[in-house]
């Protein structure tokens, strides 16, 4: 899951860079925001969740 989280996080960055192929500022804004959402999901929804599964306080 850690690897998946990292890939999803990086994917958001790739999506944002791909927005540069668009010509409308509105479309670029939408795609960049989508990229940001994907990256945040990768960090908070996948990567962090994977670490919380084995959190030190659960072992206590």
């Amino acid at each position: 899951m850690i690897l998946v989280g990292l890939v999803v996080t990086l994917l958001g960055f790739v999506v944002a860079v791909l927005s540069l192929t668009l010509h409308s500022v509105g479309a670029q804004l939408a795609v960049v925001l989508l990229g940001l959402a994907v990256s945040l999901f990768g960090i908070m929804g996948v990567l962090n969740r994977a670490y919380l599964k084995n959190a030190i306080w659960k072992k206590g």
Binding site: L6, T9, A16, A55
Partner: protein, 551 residues
């Protein structure tokens, strides 16, 4: 008390929103009609002959001393190339050029010295927010990160960041820094990293202007590195800290800094893709603070929370710092150092719009004030007391947020940006602590990460189009202008691309480097050492040997 503070807070918000709008909407007074002035006579060109008669104090007069300063600093102090010809216009022009560069060197060096002193502020803020049993360890990390980061940056980091920046006009051109490695993407060059400047000797970089630029950029890099020591405090293995900081100073920080400040692809989004003036980050909300903040998040997630931070149900426990006096004193030191951080980022006080340093300095202090207020009132309303450490973090959050826009916004924009930052830092600390369950003993992720990103975004909203640094920014003519001041949204898109780069790319790079390090040397100390406190197991000496400490 709670209701009173709520009312006070609302009055402040209304005042901040309504009063400036009133000023903005007030019609400008028409200038009084002035009588037509007689045309001024055409200026008479001066010649070398005119200069020969320039008054110079006699040797006898100078020998008697100069108590009022009227005899010191005259034509006799201008360096003359040919003593037979005497002073010439060429001599004067050279002296004027050198004076301009000397002013800019002095400004950049002195502000760099101020930024260097911020390390002391970070050290005591972080140590004060940690427990006494970890004081030596936390101070040592903050102390040694200065040297570790500098070493990495001197070896390779500076070359990656600035090796292809091209001409820095305010510092005399920095001509040896002229090799940026770029790839071609979407039909445009994408600068990725610089190639000149290894060891400050490589390819002609043993150069006075390069040295000044190095010093200033080095202390910025060190600021980013010291952010991470706070979030990973009280459980980070010292050896791992050394290697992790080296990697960040050598690669992670310089890479993003190149893209934003070194002529890389983010800086050229305006020239290549017509997105405003490209990614604009005047003094480093993104480059310094968000890079530090997202790396802090990566490391804190990876390393895990301190023992006792969460109970078995995942409910967070407050682990209080040991010295609030240190914390608030450190915040003041940081606020003082920020006068180097932001105004110094003009890289000069003469030429290319550098006189805007006054505006930059005032914006900085206003945003810090607003951030402190925002956090204090938020905590007062929510918890019934004006929390001291969060008020300090609010001040820092305001300063972090204004760092990117400080050169592009007006005082009202600064106060709004700072006020939002002050509230945002409180919300973010709660979110990180309770929802993400990521342990950040000093709030670094929220202060520097969340507010660094907010500062970057705020440029795309609040830049008022009044700044003028030599007529262009990032190679695009005109002033940086945000959405609220008539831009079409292109500047905001450029800023958001920078934000996604920080969250998507820099976070991932930091995480992977630290994950590899975790596998190789291990990032976290043993549980026994953590419970005992890291001073003895890791450093071999207690921070406060004469005090009796409880675990």
């Amino acid at each position: 008390m709670k209701t009173t503070s709520k009312k006070l807070f609302l009055v402040m918000i209304v005042a901040l929103c309504v009063v400036p709008l009133g000023f903005a909407q007030a019609p400008a007074a028409a200038p009084a009609a002035a009588p037509a002035a007689a045309p001024a006579p055409a200026p008479k060109p001066i010649t070398d002959a005119d200069l020969a008669s320039a008054p110079v104090p006699s040797a006898d007069a100078r020998a008697k001393g100069d108590p009022d300063g009227s005899l010191t600093g005259t034509a006799s102090d201008v360096t003359v190339t040919d003593t037979k010809k005497g002073i010439t216009i060429g001599d004067l022009a050279n002296q004027a050029g050198q004076n301009k560069i000397a002013i800019n060197f002095m400004w950049t060096l002195v502000t760099g010295f101020l930024v260097m002193f911020m390390q002391a502020g970070f050290a005591i803020v972080e140590t004060g927010l940690c427990r006494a049993k970890n004081a030596n360890h936390t101070m040592m990390m903050n102390f040694m990160v200065y040297g570790v980061g500098m070493f990495a940056y001197w070896l390779i980091g500076f070359a990656i960041q600035m090796g292809g920046v091209g001409a820095v006009a305010n510092l005399g051109g920095t001509p040896p820094l002229n090799a940026e490695y770029a790839i071609n993407l979407f039909g445009k060059p994408f600068g990725l990293f610089g190639q000149h400047g290894l060891f400050l000797m490589h390819k002609g970089t043993y150069d006075v202007s390069v040295m000044v630029l190095f010093l200033f950029q080095m202390v910025f890099m060190d600021t980013a590195l010291t952010i991470v020591t706070g979030s990973a405090a009280e459980r980070w293995k010292y050896a791992a800290f050394i290697i992790s900081s080296f990697l960040m100073g050598a690669f992670t920080y310089p890479l993003f800094a190149n893209w934003a400040w070194g002529g890389g692809w983010l800086a050229t989004l305006g020239a290549n893709f017509n997105l405003g003036k490209g990614y604009c980050d005047f003094a480093g909300s993104g480059v310094v603070h968000a890079v530090g903040g997202v790396t802090a998040l990566a490391l804190s997630m990876l390393i895990g929370p301190r023992i006792g931070k969460y109970d078995r149900t995942g409910k967070p426990n407050a682990i209080l710092g040991h010295d609030i006096v240190l914390v608030l004193t450190g915040c003041f030191i940081l606020a003082f150092g920020w006068f180097g951080f932001n105004p110094g980022s003009t890289l000069g006080a003469s030429g290319n719009g550098s006189l805007r340093i006054g505006s930059v300095a005032v914006n900085t202090m206003l945003a810090g004030m607003a951030g402190g207020f925002g956090a204090m009132f938020y905590m007062w309303m929510r918890y019934g007391k004006p929390d001291a450490s969060m008020s300090g973090n609010g001040l820092l959050a305001g300063l972090v947020a204004i760092t990117a826009p400080s050169g592009f916004v007006n005082p009202v924009g600064s106060v709004i940006i700072g006020l939002i930052a002050g509230v945002l830092v409180c919300l973010s600390v709660e979110f990180v602590d309770r929802v993400l369950k990521v342990d950040d003993p000093v709030g670094a992720i929220s202060v520097h990460g969340a507010n660094g990103l907010w500062g970057v975004i705020s440029v795309g909203l609040f830049a008022d189009g009044k700044s003028n640094y030599g007529g262009s920014w990032n190679g695009v003519s005109g002033s940086v202008t945000g959405l609220f001041y008539g831009d079409n949204g292109g500047q905001l898109v450029a800023q958001l691309i920078g934000v996604v780069t920080l969250v998507g790319f820099v976070f991932t790079l930091s995480f992977v480097l630290n994950l590899l390090l975790d596998w190789i040397v291990g990032q976290r100390v043993a549980a026994k050492a953590e419970l005992e406190g890291l001073d003895l197991p890791e450093m071999g000496a207690l921070g406060y040997p004469e005090f009796e400490l409880k675990s």
